[in-house]
């Protein structure tokens, strides 16, 4: 997994690429989110358009990211979720927990 990020209107947009599978990926994303909280940046959108696949550990990363941000008064939203991951979110019912937008811009806009 590769991770890039940018900021738009005070919202941090993370763009992981590849597969989110745990191991170093988990640590990387976890540390990244914690750094954001330390910098008091608590509005985060994860753009999942370039993520082909995630396993249960990948899901765990998203869940812990969401929990951590919410516990600190922030929010994690998802955007451009591919069909495959959407079905995963549906089965696990996580779709009911994550705010999910078709486009990154919509997700960013929803924060204001």
């Amino acid at each position: 997994m590769k991770l890039t990020s940018r900021e738009e209107n005070g919202v941090v947009i993370l763009e992981p690429k590849g597969k989110i599978m745990g191991g170093p990926d988990a640590t990387m994303l976890h540390d990244f989110l914690h750094d954001l909280i330390n910098q008091n940046k608590k509005k985060v959108v994860i753009d999942l358009s370039k993520v082909e696949w995630m396993n249960s550990t990948g899901l765990g990363i998203l869940i812990s990211g969401l929990t951590t941000l919410r516990n600190n008064g922030g929010e994690l939203k998802l955007a451009s979720v591919t069909e495959k991951i959407e079905s995963l979110l549906t089965i696990t019912k996580l779709i009911t927990v994550f705010e999910n937008y078709d486009k990154v811009e919509e997700a960013v806009k929803s924060f204001s």
Binding site: G22, I63, S64, I91, K93, L94
Partner: protein
């Protein structure tokens, strides 16, 4: 050659060997007091047989030789105070040397006086005549009477000495020998180094033997004024000369007595061998020559040359044999470093614990190299160098400045610690190392990193480090590094083995947690399959018998794999089993399970779980699906119904709400429950087997017995994934835990499958 000549020859040769020994010992380390004293002692000892040989062959029986020339022989008596002096400083200076050094120097005085006496007053009769001055000089006056009385006392004493000097000084010498042996023994008792003890023991025994023979042969007869047969006396003298210097030479060659270098030791061995062989050769040539001459009856030049040629032909192979023998006996011993390296590496390469390695290396170095203290300092994970506590368990940090470790890393060879400061820009470096008395640091380098240091203190008895020592230490350093690597690999292997054993037990426990028998219901048939990807897995299924034809059915999948996942499902199983027996609704059970699990795990860990209660009387299944892959209810007409009602996966959101779903079984209906290990199984092109294919297979096989459906499904999944030739560049696909539970409502009039 008669017996007298032979004795002279042996005397001469032993004298020469003693001189050679003295020169070698002096040249090897003239700066060391011990070497100087031993050299002086051996030279003095050498004078005795040498001058005896000259006396026997030249002076004895000759006329016109002044008496003092013969008395030059007495120089050798200085050997006794030298022996005393030696015993006071060997192997370490003793208290008597430190406190009464003057006394030891004064010990030479009696012998110096004796020597002067026998040289200046060599003709006792003439001197005694001179002493009788009273008869020659008339009485001058009362005043001089006092002077004369004094003179008389002195002259009487001198006269006594001259008459009995041999006996008197023999007594003194005997006293010196006894004192020296006492001192040597008390010094020997204080030695701790086993090898040093060995060589000192040998040297003491040698001196003791030689002195004992000398006392029996010379001192005792002199003191008692008896005469021993001269042949007996010569035999004792020769034995003493062989025993004394012989043991010292042996100690040098075999036990590195006096820190004599390997080359010097070798040359010593060869010169003694050569002397013996050449002596024997000359003896044989002379004897053979005279024998042949007596047969032929004339002296011929041709004959002499012929004998020499014949002997040369024999001499070379004999010399080679002796040389080979000597090399085998003397040089290929512990004294030889190549041998030492071999035994060392054999010893340390079989040690698999770092602390034991440090102890062994330390002990062996102290023993073999006469080093007072040798320690391995390992670098721990924080980059700190640690060193064993003296005499105790555990270790303590030792300061190695980065400049020092950098310098050692770049130098890569054993380095004298005094060099450290020379490379400091300011101040003194390696302070703690030097303060602890370490003189040499051998860098132990692993993968271009300084992994530790072998630190060596000074050698015992003032021995020096030689170039052969440095070469040896350098090689030894490499062996220690290899041993360290071995130890680490061994520890890892051991740890791995331990983990595997633990996992095997865990697997046993986990297998034990699964239902041992399939449920026996009248209307339903069951088939199950479970295969963890590792020893233990994160999948499980369970059947909970609740009586009245009711059965709880669980299938669950914890996130992740291996032991953490296994621990989570073990806990889940316990919670579900206890909650299910309270007669709660399935969604209430799931809510409780979720709350329990959420409290005990971190938010990035979770489990998906499907729990259903099958009632045989109503043919209904009440269920709650907490984020699990939808179980498929395959109806008789081939339609599939997904069991998706429930709520969020378990463990991540403590306040999640769960709902209850219900389905009704008709005869022949099939419920297929599985984990994502099945549906997400990938083929070589990374395509998934998929929920759709599972549904299709279920429809296809739905009329078969439940066991057959189960095994066919598993086979299909495995065949799908089987890839005889993986594409280059693709990583092998990691298989997840796989679980499949199939429940079939018996078809009307259909027979229950046997099995």
């Amino acid at each position: 050659m008669n017996l007298g000549q032979l004795t002279s020859f042996i005397f001469m040769a032993s004298g020469l060997i003693l001189f050679v020994l003295a020169v070698i010992i002096y040249r090897e380390n003239a700066g060391n007091r011990l070497n100087r004293v031993v050299a002086a002692m051996l030279s003095l000892a050498g004078i005795a047989p040498f001058s005896a040989a000259i006396y026997k062959s030249v002076i004895e029986g000759a006329t016109g030789v002044p008496a003092w020339v013969g008395n030059m022989y007495y120089i050798w008596e200085l050997f006794f105070p030298a022996l005393l002096y030696f015993s006071a400083i060997f192997p370490e200076p003793q208290p008597i040397y430190r406190q009464h050094k003057r006394l030891l120097q004064l010990a030479f005085l009696p012998h110096v006086i004796h020597l002067l006496m026998v040289l200046l007053l060599a003709d006792p009769d003439r001197v005694l005549g001179l002493l009788d001055f009273e008869s020659q000089i008339p009485i001058v006056g009362q005043l001089l009477k006092v002077v004369f009385s004094l003179l008389r006392i002195i002259t009487s004493f001198l006269g006594f000495l001259l008459l009995f000097h041999t006996r008197f000084f023999s007594l003194i010498n005997l006293f010196y020998v006894v004192a020296a042996i006492y001192l040597l023994y008390s010094g020997y008792r204080k030695i701790e180094n086993p090898r040093l003890k060995q060589q000192v023991r040998l040297v003491i025994l040698g001196i003791l033997g030689a002195m004992g023979l000398y006392v029996v042969g010379f001192l005792v007869p002199d003191i008692l004024s008896t005469r021993m047969p001269s042949a007996m006396r010569d035999l004792l003298a020769v034995s003493a000369l062989i025993v004394g210097p012989g043991t010292i030479a042996w100690a040098i060659v075999r036990y590195q007595f006096l820190d004599i270098g390997l080359i010097a030791r070798r040359s010593l061995v060869y010169s003694i061998t050569t002397a013996i062989v050449v002596g024997g050769y000359i003896l044989v040539v002379v004897e053979l020559g005279s024998a042949l001459r007596s047969i032929v009856g004339q002296d011929s030049q041709v004959l002499n040359i012929l004998i020499i040629i014949i002997m040369l032909l024999f001499f070379q192979p004999i010399y080679n044999q002796v040389d080979d023998f000597v090399r085998r006996i003397f040089i290929r011993t512990r004294a030889d470093y190549s041998q030492l390296v071999e035994s060392f590496s054999r010893e340390i390469l079989t040690i698999f614990q770092a602390d034991k390695l440090a102890t062994t290396v330390s002990d062996s170095l102290r023993r073999e190299m006469f080093i007072e203290n040798a320690e391995i300092s390992f670098r721990d994970s924080d980059g700190q160098f640690r060193i064993r506590l003296i005499g105790g368990q555990g270790n303590v940090a030792i300061e190695i400045e980065p400049a020092v470790s950098g310098y050692l890393l770049s130098k890569r060879v054993p380095t004298f610690t005094e060099e450290f400061s020379g490379h400091a820009e300011s101040g003194r470096l390696g302070g703690e190392v030097i303060a602890r008395g370490f003189q040499i640091a051998v860098p132990l380098i692993r993968q271009d990193r300084l992994a530790g240091l072998l630190l060596l203190s000074a050698k015992v008895a003032g021995f020096r480090y030689r170039s052969e020592d440095i070469t040896f230490l350098s090689i030894l350093g490499n062996h220690i590094v290899v041993a360290m690597e071995n130890a680490e690999l061994y520890a890892e292997a051991l740890e791995k083995q331990r983990l595997e054993e633990e996992l095997a037990v865990a697997k046993q426990i986990q297998t034990g947690l699964l239902p041992k028998n399939l449920p026996a219901l009248r209307q339903f048939e069951f088939a199950t399959y479970i295969e963890p990807s590792r020893q233990v897995g994160g999948d499980y299924f369970d059947f909970i018998h609740m009586g009245d034809g009711r059965l709880g059915i669980v299938i669950a999948d914890a996130s992740g794999k291996g032991v953490p996942a296994a621990l989570l499902i073990a806990r889940m199983q316990a919670i579900i089993q206890s909650e299910a027996r309270f007669g709660k609704n399935v969604n209430e059970i799931m809510t409780a399970v979720n709350q329990f699990i959420s409290q005990s795990i971190s938010p990035d860990r979770f489990a998906t779980c499907f729990y259903g209660e099958l009632d045989e009387t109503t043919m209904r299944l009440h269920y709650c699906n907490a984020g699990h892959n939808y179980p498929l209810l395959v109806k008789g007409d081939g339609k599939i119904h997904q069991l998706d009602i429930g709520g969020l996966l378990l463990g991540a959101f403590p306040n999640a709400v769960y709902q209850c779903g219900v389905v009704e079984f008709a005869p022949g209906d099939l419920l297929v429950m599985y984990t994502d290990g099945l549906s997400e199984m990938m083929d070589a092109d990374e395509r998934e087997f998929g929920d759709k294919r599972i549904g299709e297979h279920a429809i296809k096989y739905r009329h078969q017995p439940v066991d057959a459906i189960c095994s066919k499904m598993i086979n299909s999944v495995k065949q799908f994934a089987a890839d005889p030739a993986p594409k280059p560049g693709t990583s092998p696909i990691e298989i997840d835990d796989m679980t499949l539970v199939i429940i079939k409502a018996l078809e009307e009039g259909g027979d229950r499958a046997i099995g």
